[in-house]
Symmetry: C2
Subunit: 442 residues, 2 copies
Amino acid sequence: MTRTKVCVIGCGFGGLEAVRALARSDAVDVTLIDRTNHHLFQPLLYQVATADVAAPAVSGPIRHILRREMQRGRLTVLRAEVTTLDAGARTLTLEDGSTLAYEHLIVAAGATHSYFGHDEWSRFAPGLKTLADAFDVRARIIGAFEQAERTQDEAERAACLNFVIIGGGPTGVELAGALAEIARHTLREEFRHIDSRSARIVLMEGSPRVLGAFDEALSASAARQLRKLGVELHTGCQVTGIDAAGVDYTEQGQPRRLAARTVLWAAGVAASPLGRALAASAGAPLDRAGRVQVQADLSLPGHPEIQVIGDLAAATTPTRAGPKPVPGVSPAAKQMGRLAAANLLRRLRGEATRPFRYADYGALATLGRNAAVVQLELPAIGRLRFSGYPAWLFWLFAHIYFLIGFRNRLVVLIDWAWSYWTFARHARVVAQAVAPPKQAPS
Amino acid sequence: MTRTKVCVIGCGFGGLEAVRALARSDAVDVTLIDRTNHHLFQPLLYQVATADVAAPAVSGPIRHILRREMQRGRLTVLRAEVTTLDAGARTLTLEDGSTLAYEHLIVAAGATHSYFGHDEWSRFAPGLKTLADAFDVRARIIGAFEQAERTQDEAERAACLNFVIIGGGPTGVELAGALAEIARHTLREEFRHIDSRSARIVLMEGSPRVLGAFDEALSASAARQLRKLGVELHTGCQVTGIDAAGVDYTEQGQPRRLAARTVLWAAGVAASPLGRALAASAGAPLDRAGRVQVQADLSLPGHPEIQVIGDLAAATTPTRAGPKPVPGVSPAAKQMGRLAAANLLRRLRGEATRPFRYADYGALATLGRNAAVVQLELPAIGRLRFSGYPAWLFWLFAHIYFLIGFRNRLVVLIDWAWSYWTFARHARVVAQAVAPPKQAPS
């Protein structure tokens, strides 16, 4: 029996689900391509950045996660980067120049940061999408406190102790809450020349409220909880410039500047560059963020053999009030992954494909110790909202539940319990030494 | 009361012990300087490199380890690099150009790799001294298997599956044993186009036997155990060249070459460059490896206010047969740290210093699963040797016992139990993506 060659690009939540579903079928031979060797549980990445957990606790080698699928002999995993594709010839080009032929393609290449046309800000304000980003952010946070302890210059010390987080979505509030805890508790007694509690954690959000995807009452509750944790909240605040020494912004029409050595970017998301490749080669329509506007069944117009899922897809879901955009969250990506796999197999059997319908169970975000907001959509009952300690517990168990692998669940639970009771963060080690001096000629 | 200003350079085993002992005294104000923010439990660093444990399991933030000493208000910790020193003016120069005055100085700056005059080999054959080294080695090991799976070229595939470890001391045999286990067990069922068990793990040692510091019988046992684990042992083997494609060596007088993508360096150790700075400024005599030849009480000739300890010191210990060199192992470094602190305080009190006397309790090395050698020196009884499973158990508990911090002990024990029973290595994630392609102009 000849198996249909399927390529899946990206092993995030969407790609992983698609591969798992496809691997059950005898009709396909699957090649999964990812730039890294691991699947990342992105909702907990901020904890790697803020030194709460080690990287292996929230990520796992793709080969290990898929070892059972692998053993059936119909799955190939490649660590490679797809640089472009030819939808006419049905080939992918990899970063080493080699090509790979496919008959069906699922593109789940995800998203990257968008600096809204100011790519020069990326040097000064890293975002948080990959493990490498998390290590960079961790090194910057630790480095800022170390430099504050070291410097004799009062202005530099103040800038070292100013931490600016730009963007009040889930990642931004998580980072801000964790930083506040680091400054107020974790490092409290570990410096001699500074009081870590004097650090300012400044969260800047352009819109009038944080967590804009949540109900207004929960946004307000999140703002209160963040302030209680020690976060300075600046809403309606537009960032106009970022450089090595700080941030320019306007607030209530006034231009202002804050000197800060550490600036973290949690504001803009842009689709993977593969969106543009799909537009160029397959004529895929893109939205303003560069995401691919897929058809109801997640395929491209004119290219039923190509499906796009996850954060790279601008998909809609039918509601009584008409089609509604699907948010870029992991449950949506997983649901798309399963549907894309099922639709692909339906096509191979000559059956009609089915449209994507997003099952929205709500949203949740954590803000720090005992602080979170939860908004559940319950089918018969309607919307259920809660915040504070119960929401935090709910968030905790939901994330443990969805973490991949029994071992990771156990390890993260132990890490969290440890941090909770001791206020210590065990993953505070930074591999980089201070910048070595220029070699004297000798 | 005026406290004497003491600087300690380096927070390895020696520096940490010295600071702990000094912090108990009211007579001194201590500044500890390290290039990184963590103390590293170096004996287990190879497990970070071979993906058995995460970095935070074998390292801890210096500030956290010393938080109680910190709270007494007489200890400053600086993450900084000492670039040079002026023994006349009694100042240190840091990498940012600032200077620091001391009245007493303990230099515990450790060692780095020596490529025996072939520094150009370092690019192709990284050594293992720091967490950054360990991440580099891990990325190379994982990357080699990934590339073997990917390539269509048979010669390249073979080179990807050849792993050369140069140096048959403790680090070399540990790396070789762990690599053999990765190839034979961990990755066995996770590839489709290669059989990971076909990987060759080649250990090259210049002298006639591995683990030269051990008795001959234990060396022979170690060699047998390594072969059983799947390691190819080449003793009496001189490396003459290393490049991106492999290793040149002579064996039994014959020049040979082995194509290998992964070459790891566990052969030569050179003292920290601060040894040369001490020679230039304080006239300290150096040995061939660049280590400082200290006096019996660990101080420098003519500079009683400077003491050198740990791997940077070429110290001797009295024996019936005359002075014997102290080996570069962690128990020796710890003992020197304690004596240096005590001698410093004795000097402040106007008392005579005491000479260093190395209490040698023996040596142990692990080779892999259930495989190790142990050689104990028991005061009244004499030398006790054993190998195999009992030695491995002994090694395991000895290392757990000496790991710093209750949490780390617990975490490493859980990690080891997990690896032991499942053969999985949970820390196999590599942050780096494949090399991104050059940007096309657009």
